[in-house]
Symmetry: D2
Subunit: 342 residues, 4 copies
């Protein structure tokens, strides 16, 4: 039983962390902070938690976070980099669900995120929390940078090909569609029901912040700098990411077998049989990535389909998976929910 705190609990990743942690056998929820909602019951903001989470939001300044074994940051970008250091100094381990510690190249991070980094030294220490790549490092990490939702679905879909060195890594394409919660719980015009419903659009085609994160991960796997065109789209879904990935074959392989072997022992990656089309609802509210491998008309372009729930395997679920690794729990503890369909 570990003591856990959450900083910034009024967003969707915070709400999802609460849903998962409230059912986790090894966790005691100690504190959840929110400057704006301090003093009000968590269940007033998230009525699904009524009767299940008795906590009130506390002011960050007066919280018991230093008494925790682990603190999750479910905050906007730029918060954890200012506050994680003190917690780490107090012996608290930290998982940041925002982007502060994801990019190793600090000037690159500063360019994309538009602010100076407050803790460059921690960036070096932080472990990128994709268990399928960094499982052993995560076990011993003090500070985990939990991956973004687009990066999780895209990297899991492309890594087997890149590790095997059988595709053109200079011209990868990731056409990715995200549900609206991927943008967070923000009162912005394009996220209104009347704007986002019955509508579909691409956005930030010129450059999205997840591009350098994906490129870093794939380049590490390739052993050289890869080239990626990444086009995100806003889709009228509450939850769900569907990545459609295109890669040109440079060396023949049993591609289906390659994926199956790569993920054979992964508890949360499911390689579907040939010819499958994963649906986002098949992973709704659960910590699963489902992948299908296609080679249309037996041509030289592979099409990989990869789906996750952006709030679970793309955020809170992956964070709990990382917590399980960090504290020696069963990696699947608290993550056995069956996806909700319909």
């Amino acid at each position: 039983m570990i003591k856990v705190g959450i900083v910034g609990g009024t967003g969707y990743t915070g709400a999802e962390l609460l849903r998962l942690l409230a059912q986790h056998p090894n966790v005691e929820l100690l504190a959840i902070t929110s400057r704006g909602e301090a003093g009000s019951a968590v269940a007033d903001t998230f009525p699904n938690l009524r009767g299940r989470v008795a906590l009130k939001f506390t002011d960050p300044a007066q919280s018991t976070l230093p008494d925790c074994d682990l603190v999750f940051f479910a905050t906007p970008n730029g918060i954890a980099m200012k506050q994680a250091g003190a917690l780490l100094d107090a012996g608290v381990r930290v998982i940041d669900l925002a982007a502060d510690f994801r990019i190793k190249d600090v000037p690159l991070w500063e360019k994309w995120y538009g602010m100076p980094h407050a803790s460059p030294q921690l960036v070096a220490e932080a472990v990128y929390g994709l268990p399928e790549v960094n499982r052993e490092l995560i076990r011993n990490a003090r500070l985990v940078a939990n991956p973004g939702c687009y990066p999780t679905s895209t990297q899991l879909g492309l890594l087997p090909l890149i590790e095997a060195g059988c595709v053109d890594t200079a011209h990868l394409i990731a056409d990715v569609k995200s549900g609206v919660t991927g943008a967070g719980r923000k009162t912005e015009m394009p996220l209104l029901f009347a704007e986002a419903s019955d509508n579909f659009k691409a956005y930030k085609v010129a450059g999205h912040r997840h591009l350098p994160e994906i490129s870093q991960g794939l380049s590490l796997a390739a052993g050289h700098r890869i080239g990626l065109t990444f086009v995100p789209h806003l889709t009228p879904l509450i939850r769900g990411i569907h990545a459609t990935l295109y890669a040109r074959v440079t060396r023949e392989e049993d591609f289906q077998g390659l994926f199956e072997r790569r993920y054979a022992s992964e508890p949360f990656v499911d390689v579907l049989p040939p010819g499958s089309h994963p649906e986002t609802r098949s992973v709704r509210a659960a910590n699963i990535c489902r992948i299908a491998v296609h080679r249309p008309q037996n041509g030289d372009t592979l099409v990989i389909l990869s789906v996750i729930d952006n709030l679970v395997k793309g955020a809170a679920g992956q964070a709990v998976q990382n917590m399980n690794l960090m504290f020696g729990f069963d990696e699947c503890a608290g993550l056995s929910q069956i996806p909700v369909l319909p």
Copy 2:
């Protein structure tokens, strides 16, 4: 550990039963039948169950249903009344999620359902499976008639008032809105996405089959025949029922307190604080009914708001609750899911 079978597993209530039973600590799933899908894997029809339910659909004729301790009928109306008898004779207990055994007045049932009843004698024996009314009878029942979704939300919202005798029972109004899964998994034109999305309508205002079921339950509670105007509406939700109930006060009462006392020890009925507005998503995918009590402008008309997930407390979840009662399990076993929000 009991052995459980499901007849008719390709509908939404069947899928939801599978999701719940696959996580139930006291249940071994033995068989799920489907004439149309016999031989194919359950997970091919419901991809959320992949990796969690290994069963294939079996032909009803060749199934192991008689070896079960309990069989759920998740079939269209008119099936269970033909098949339940043989199973009961074989010592199998039965919960019917359809309407075959809900109405005690057999000619009335035949009028509304448009067919002769095949087992009138079983109707008399069947226990109406609303635990908040019939808990003790359910414990010992061989045959349980699981309530409909509209009747569950409407009865739970009106029963405290009727039992207390403080409203005009001759002119009750239930204006109820249902998600599309309330109609089942049927390939009918009005249920298409392109017809039901971004659209709202009432239907069957002249008379819906759930009217006699609700009237029966409320009349029993009143001790006399009640009068009810029931208007169902089709709403662009996947899951969820919202009942807005109107009753004229005939005797003053502490109405909020009345509801709180009535449901104080009910594990799955949540009376909200005064002034609340329950949302359907606050119960999504969980076995809960949330109720709020209003008296606008302190007039003589009470407005009761009652929400459930039609597939859980309105169908499969309530069936599992009934199973727990019938077999002496913890009433909440397998039903501790936290609602999924957003």
Copy 3:
């Protein structure tokens, strides 16, 4: 050809006015103002208008509004009451789509809208712009108070009964469901896609601002103060209002005939055949109210179903209809769009 201006063009009623007026044969759009968007092209905010409306938003202070024959206020409540007077003095006629001039009882308005009224003398002059009630007064009005969306659908559904004096006017019930645009184009949390989609709830059951407006209209028709329970609901629709109205019969009538006669010569009210269930999509994007009259089980409770598009017959379309009356145009000019289905 009249010159027309719009104050406050960045909301949904402003956008809809632009869509309708850009196709109107007798209108020249002279100016559309917005403090926040002054200088930017209207089509940048509303991409559907690209190539069809060349205007830019102008600052209210520098606009050509006084040169107009007619100015529409598509502003939040409390703006028109401050600015309409000067325009009227300059000889400009005014239609206010907000609530400033709808309630004749100024203290009552101030109580519900939470501010002192800036122009009580204009309230007396203003004509309530429901053409089905006030057609002749509207023709000569300088200032028209365009009705709210809930009040339009509810009054059109109840007026024939109340005018005929055949129902209990002390206990009317209006259970009304609105699409999300009914709340305007506001960046508020409950209006986010991730909050409003796949969700249904009642709100403001204790009292909604449209209650006194509806009560005023129905009381005028009755000749005495009526009693109404009004429950609004937020529905995952972009557009559309569905009013389900309940009234107790006090005198027998041919109710279907009553409605048909009442609206026989109304161009924008369509009484459906007996047994019908109007759908909100059947009026989507068009200036129509469709009504069905039901009497379930031939009891003493009538159920009237009334649907409109809240942005058209519930706002901008009705405003154009009023404009047509005020300037002697064909009442249907610019309003002949066929509803968009699917």
Copy 4:
């Protein structure tokens, strides 16, 4: 004024043809046929048309189709090829909205559509009805093959590049997302609200029938056989197609200027300013294709975004545009609807 008939009027393209033709200044609707609905009013099937289209469906065998100047086939594939010949022989001109006459290579058509072609000789005569390519041929055509929705959005997005010979035509990628009406008005399980809502998936990645149609059009423009990877996706939209198109640059060009020049005089193709992201709702219910040209990070991969309403520019609207050309009407007649947003 020409006399027009529609064969197969109960689908979505039929409904949309009716909406457009009922407002067309040069058209008299003479007949609309449906075997299943013969004798019932069109407005009973499509309630938006109530009061605007007085026709009843007639049995195809007893219809007045031969008296028409033009007949639209809004039928499933395989009908027009059997019936168009007789009408053409009777002097009636024909526009087929299905696929019967789109593919010039008859064996190829037979392979993808799974049936022998009934009128190969008419295939040779038919003109492919993409006005932006075949305007002059369409004017004089007796028989027009109206393009599919995916092919319209994809070809309009890629043609300028291919005609200019500045991209690698061997490895084009079209990642296209379609609303649910793209599949027609069919009672199939995956098209149910409860299956398609809040869900996203690719389908037919191995090969979709629109692939040979797109390839034919692009190959004609290229002057050689092009290579295309085409991945269609089902999106929870009622209407709308969003094509995200990827092409590798082989020769430098002013790509933005290229598109602007190519479509400068096209009334229904709108090239957006650099940096734009067209939204499907910006063309909802109108005959417009909006296109944006991107070159992310100034790399060698172009990203073209192209949106249409699949029922309008992707079907019925384009058919009316073709009709206008065939009969010498203003090309925009009856097609001036402003898109409906929100």
